[in-house]
Every structure is written in C-alpha cells, then in structure tokens.
Symmetry: C2
Subunit: 481 residues, 2 copies
C-alpha cells in the first residue's frame, strides 16, 4: 500500500503566525483568536476533513531585534498579542472526538512538575489525543520575562531540556502503575498506595519529590514532537522525539537529514521507523489555473516582508537599503551572530552575493522552499505524492495563509483527490489516541525501547541508598491501642 | 431591597475534595473528574440554576503528614489524584454564557509572567468570566515538588505573594492601554506600539521585562479572591482581595472578622463595601423532614473520619487511640506545631479537654460550623436569610456532598424558595463579566482606588533613570538611503 499522508493544521494562538500581513484581508478570521468560537469552528472543520490534528506553535516573548524593540512586531501583530496555547485544547476537545492536538512548550523557564500535571490533565480530558512540541526557546525577551539576563546558551538549554525530560518521564511513566487506581467501593480504597511512588529526583537543575498528582492517562507520555537542527538538537531528537520536523531545499537534502536522524536513532537502540518526519508545507489550491493564479496574486499583494524580517529577528531593516546593494555590504563588519545580523529562520541560507532587492523579492514570494505548491487538485496531489515517495517524509504541517480558507480549500479540493489515490484516510480508524493515529492501533503508549520507558521499572527511579517508597517526613508518636 | 445571595459551587479537579468518603456512593459522579463531560454537564446545571460561578480549589502536592507519607491520602482519594484546574475552564466556558469560574493558583512556585498570560487567555476565552483565588500554599510536599527543601515560612510566602501581585498588575493593568489594539486594515497596523510598554520589573524575587503578551481582556485583572486568617494574610487581603472567604463559629465571630477586614480595607483607602464576604456552607435539603433525615443519615454513614484526619494534616491517627483518652494526653510533649500534631483546618479549635471519642464523633457530624443547615426548603431559606442579615456575609461557596445531587437539590428546592423571597436572581442580568455579577453592571474593571489600578499610570511602571518605552537591546548599523 502506498504511504498515506499525515496532516496537521499549523496554528498559533495569535494574529500573524508564519505568513505575515494576511490579517488585513477582509475574509481572514485570525483577529478572532481571542474568541473560543474561532477555535471550536476550526476544530470541527479539521475533524470533518479527517486531519490528524491541529498543531499550536508558541513563543513566550516578543520579537524585538528588528528596529526599536517590539514596535514592528506590535504593528504587524507578529506573534504579539499571543495567548497561551494549552488552554485552547479543552474547548476544542469538547467539540471533537478524534482530532489530535499538538502544543508547544519550552523546557527552559517553567517548572517540570506543573507542566507534567498540565499535560496529564490534557491527556485525560482529550482521552489521549495530545502531543507536545518540545522547544527550548531562543528569544532573548523570553529569557528576560523569566528573570534571566538574556538568552540561555543553546547547548546549555539542551542540558536543561534533557533533565527536564527525565523528570517528566519519571512522573508520567514511573510514578503510578497502570493498575494503581482500583476504585474498590467495598474496601473504600480508591488507589492502591503500593502502586504509587515518589520519584525523589535530584539533578543539576531540578529537585522534584513526587508522586505525580495525576492518575495514569491514556497515553501517559504525550506524543513527543521536536525539530532537529544543531548537533545538540539532533542528539536530543534522536533520544526523545517520536515525530521530527525536518526540511530542506531539495529532496536530496531532506533524505539526507532524515537518514542521519534515523542513523542516530538506531545507534540509541530505537527502531528507526519509530519516528515520523513532518515538514511545514504551503499549499495553495484552486479548481482551475485561473483560480490558483488569482489566489496567489491576492496573497502576494498582502504578504508583509517587514513581518518576515521581524520574524527572522533581523537586526537590519533591509527595506531601508537601496535594492542594488549586495547583501555582503549590508552585513560587512557585523560579525557572525545570527547570519551577520540579517537574522535567522526565513533569512537563513541566502547567498551573500545576492542584492538586497533580490532577497526582498525572494521573501515576497512563496516558493523558496521545496514544500510549496500552488495548483489545481491534481497538481497538488502529484506534488504531495512526490514528497511522500521521493523525500521519505510522512506528512505535513499545513501552513495557513488565510483562516479558514487554507484549511477549507485543502479539505474541499485536496483531500478528495488524495483519497481517490489511496493517500489519505477515508475516516478515523487507527485507534483512539494520537499516538495510535501515527503508529497504529494498540500503540497508545511510548514503545518499550524508547528512552522514557526505562522509568516504568521502579529500580530506575530509586536513588542508591534511598528507599523507593514514601519516606515518612516526620517521626511519629507510638499510639497506645 | 433585601440583600441577595451570591452562590458558587465549591469544586476541585479530583475525587474527594472536602467531604471525604462520599465517592463510594453508587450515585456519586466524582470518579468522572478526568472526563470533560463531567465538567460540562455540571457547568450547564449551574447555569440553569443561575449560580454566580463554579469555584475550583487546588493543591500542588500530596497530604503526607498522616501515617506513612501519602498512603492514606491515596486510599481515600483525598485530593490525589488531582488534575490542573485552569484547563477545565475553557471547556465549561464553551457550553455556558454567563457562569463565572474561580480558580485557585499559588504565588509561591511558578513564574508570574506565564501565569499572567494564562489568566488573560482565560479572561478572553470566557469573555470576562474568570476569577482567581490567591493562595500561597502550605503543603510541604508541594514545596518539594518545586525544588525547595520544605514549606516556605508563612510570612515569607506573603512577601513573595505581594511582589508577585505587583508583577501581575503591571502586566494586566499597565503594559497595554485600553485602546492599544487599533486593527487598522488600511494602514496595516494591528497594535499602536506607543500604547504598549515594557514593565522592566526588578524586585527582590522577580525580574520581568514584558511587555505582556496578551491584548487587553474584558476584566484585565481577574476578580481577586482570598481567604484571610493570619495578620499577614489579613493585610494581604485588605490590599488585594475583592472577595474574601471568611468563617466562624458564631454570627458574632463572623461579624467581627468582617468588620476588622473592612477596617483594614478603609485604612488602605479602599471603599470597605468594595469587598464581598463569602463563607463555605453545607446545605442538605429535602422535600420533607423524612427525606432530609434519610439523606443526612446516608451521608453520615459514608463520611470518612480518616479522610478528614488526612486533610487536616494530622500527624496522629486518632482512630488508633482508645476513645476515652483525653486529647491533651494524645498531644502531650508534641510541641505547638499544627495544634500539637493533631493537625489544622478541620481539627483546629477543639477543646483539649475533649476525649478522642468526642472529637471523632464531632468529625463525623456535619454541624460543627455555623454554616451548615439540613432541612426543608423553607428551613434552609430561613437559615440563609439569617446568615445574610445577621452575619453580614454576601454569599456562600456551596460544599458538595454528592455530585451532582448537592447542586441539583439546591437548584430544584432552594433556588425557587430564595427567589420567592427576593433573595436570589431570577436570571443573569448584572452585566457580562464576573466582576459585574458581584459589583454591578459597568464594574468590569478593578476600581480606581484598588492598589493594582496605580499601574495604569505609566509613571508608576518606570524605574527611576530607566526609559519607559522599549529599549533597543542592541546598537544598530545606520542604513544608507
């Protein structure tokens, strides 16, 4: 059977997430992000289209490298204002039965105990439909919102993240046995205390006693998503991730990235096929070429290059330079940080011999990347089939140009064509949890060879010389009778 | 017009919240706390009954003073397992239009920036129907879940809490002007950056840069609830709280507590009537005396004294002592901490001359407290009128014995009787936000004389010598053209 596409809608609890300038379109619904109805309508639409899930990005600071602090970000609504992502999930879960939810949360600034409880709560409330995109956060303003003087160095963030994961696995996988809750009404025992244990974690960054406050949820550990990039990030993804975001300019790039991640995964004793690879993709589809061209043109006219520069944390306002200036002149003498001050993200990878005008034109276009297609349903489906077969990817996070137009177009035009070709599910049938949707029925839990599964063995929770069970915190008087 | 009753249902995202042992009753729904449906059914019921709100208690650790660590708490399901409270609110908001939601959150362990954003998100999603019960947490296990060796000393917790509040007010009231979001589609400006500012808070416990990530929500600051007790707690409540939980054994006690809080409030320049006083109340109602007696008897038989001892953090298992032993013998030589090791909360205030048996019998009964009534609708309504008129209280947090029986009984039997007497609203009509429900239409925001309102003036945000607006984090190259 040909490989089927996994697809999430890529979202964020804000106005301008990833394609900037679009909020001014009169049909765009994004300014409704503060309203529950926006999210419940969207969730119902995606479940109608049998999407795998809705995936929520997040940042916990403002983009303030471009211009005078966050002024440009505010004008562009570039990820500010933005609200908490986790709080959307219960309302969307309430109006759906199958749709999965991925949420982004950083391991750098908040305590693991509270986060473990929030995710277990969501896994209960969604009946196992939740995933977590593990990030370590790079915005300097985020660090300054949490008491730090500036960005935590990259590799140090990954050391913190590794220990954060240990704490979570101990709470999620180790603190309660599957059969701890017995709900014995006759004996009046809700939980068998011999099947619950403290974790007594003591590491370089965290001290966490436990026990976990939540009883076992359907997936225990939520599905773990991560983007690999740097060597430290790749190592982290190979150990922890079940779904990896990847990318590249050519099929060869992407295959190479995937192969190298799979090799690291194999070296760590995991099944290299136990990881799915997703790319962020842009799809503009119309019933005929004229409809496609007119949509593409309308979007291009709204596209804000300034928003893209703000997003890239560019310290240089390229719009203020004469278009014929070589990029190498703009960056001369600015050192190596963040691509010489131009920024990272969308600006990474530009040839320094290009001119300012050429770079700006490329930023205005939508097609820099391999994972963009504009066309009729059959052209889009041909392209997606090529991505699946030539690049070895498993699915896409669908970039939104317009809410709800992007999702509606995909569901009305692309989904039926992919179904005809056997490339997309006809209905939800892979099991009830998000992990089963990705890996098949019966796979609701982390696989046994995953790093986190070791904490199911109480021996791996104990600190040598410390008792495994609860230690009475104070001595007690001996009662008489 | 006679004073009308405010009423919230008192809940917690767990099995056994405040009356223990009841979960074994076959009609009790509490074991469904992991399911969204439990909460949405309950929210719909309360809105049908025109309750003010649903109020969620919380703790972030296990009760482990009684016996061998948290073993007894686990067996009794005494607030463990327990899930995150905030995540219930969006789903309940989704199925209601008027009901308010109060959630408990501690100022001691998590960073204020993330909490400010979560509450603003909830205030948006609920359209201004959210309140916050400010607590500082006392469980030693909670401290050990967040990296601390043990409980933070009481007065020190209030110093942290005071600074935590300052950070929140700066973010909620000061960082964005009311009219900052202009959504100007022609000029392509979503937010006017001149109306948004960093807070640059630097205090003894927190450093928070800002700006707040959320645009202004309907109430900005959620309605602030607090329980006063100690002198530090009273001072804190007088400065911050808009609703105070109080109590006492007699009407005189309660009136005295309320009067002393109002005096402190006045001394701080606030309107003493700008605070509402709620008590936790138990109401058991039936259509006739036989129905009341049979319900009372059924509940008493299930009531778990052991659960109450665990809840009280009693270090002594009174059930293991001969019933005729005087309490003074049990506590002899145990020092003064926590009422000599018997515990606090429900056990506080027992006469040391009582015997173990007498104390246990009182624990088994429901009527130690002034705010308990069992009777027919007219008896209950008479009693509630007396509480309102004699004790100077404004309303109750209704203790649940059984879910959903307690709320359903109150709505079917007590609400109509109170309405006949002009003591309870006929419908929601006080305005759209929770603050307006409490203080009247047009009062959606903190009053101008409230401590937190000072941060609406940007001058009170600035640190002397520091610029008020955003400070560019790095120097920039001067562009050519």
């Amino acid at each position: 059977m040909s490989k089927r596409l996994h697809v999430n809608l890529f979202e964020m609890n804000c106005v301008s997430h990833i394609v900037h300038g679009m909020w001014v379109h009169p049909d765009n619904q994004r300014h409704r992000f503060n309203d529950l109805d926006y999210w419940t309508e969207l969730a119902r639409l995606l479940e109608y289209g049998t999407f795998d899930g809705l995936f929520l990005a997040d940042v916990i600071g403002a983009y303030d490298s471009f211009g005078q602090g966050p002024r440009a970000a505010l004008e562009e609504a570039m990820q500010i204002p933005s609200n908490d992502p986790l709080l959307l999930i219960p309302a969307m879960a309430q109006v759906t039965r199958h749709l999965g939810f991925g949420a982004t949360f950083s391991t750098t600034y908040e305590p693991p105990f509270a986060f473990a409880r929030r995710m277990s709560t969501l896994d209960h409330l969604t009946r196992g439909r939740v995933g977590w995109n593990i990030v370590t956060s790079y915005l300097p303003n985020a660090a300054r919102n949490f008491g730090l003087p500036g960005e935590v160095p990259h590799d140090h963030r990954y050391e913190i993240a590794d220990e954060f994961m240990d704490v979570l696995y101990k709470l999620w996988e180790g603190s309660w046995d599957d059969d701890a809750v017995i709900r014995d009404r006759d004996r009046k025992i809700y939980t068998d205390p011999d099947k619950v244990r403290a974790i007594n974690h003591e590491g370089a960054f965290f001290k966490v006693a436990g026990p976990h406050l939540c009883q076992p949820s359907p997936q225990r550990t939520p599905v773990l998503f991560q983007a690999s990039g740097s060597p430290a990030g790749l190592e982290f993804a190979a150990r922890h991730a079940e779904v990896v975001f990847t990318g590249g300019l050519t099929a060869q790039d992407v295959r190479r990235n995937i192969a190298s991640t799979r090799a690291r995964v194999r070296a760590l004793g995991r099944d290299p096929q136990a990881i799915k690879f997703l790319v962020q993709a842009g799809v503009i589809v119309g019933r005929n070429d004229e409809a496609v061209a007119s949509k593409l043109d309308a979007y291009r006219q709204l596209m804000s290059v300034r928003g893209a520069l703000v997003h890239a944390q560019s310290e240089i306002d390229l719009l203020a330079w004469p278009p014929e200036t070589p990029i190498s002149t703009v960056t001369a003498g600015r050192g190596q940080g963040r691509a010489g001050g131009i920024g990272r993200g969308v600006l990474a990878g530009f040839d320094p011999q290009l001119t300012v005008g050429q770079v700006l034109r490329q930023l205005e276009s939508f097609d820099r990347d391999r994972y963009f297609v504009a066309g009729t349903p059959s052209v889009v489906a041909d392209t997606i089939e090529r991505w699946l077969d030539e690049d070895d990817i498993d699915g896409i996070n669908l970039r939104q140009y317009m809410s709800f137009e992007t999702a509606r177009d995909f569901i009305e035009l692309v989904v039926p064509e992919l179904r005809r070709r056997g490339r997309f599910r006809e209905s939800y049938q892979e099991g009830e949890t998000l992990r089963e949707r990705l890996f098949g029925a019966g796979q609701a839990r982390l696989p046994a060879e995953h790093y986190g599964a070791r904490y199911r063995d109480p021996a791996n929770l104990a600190i040598p010389g410390q008792p495994l069970r609860f230690d009475p915190p104070v001595s007690r008087a001996v009662p008489v009778g």
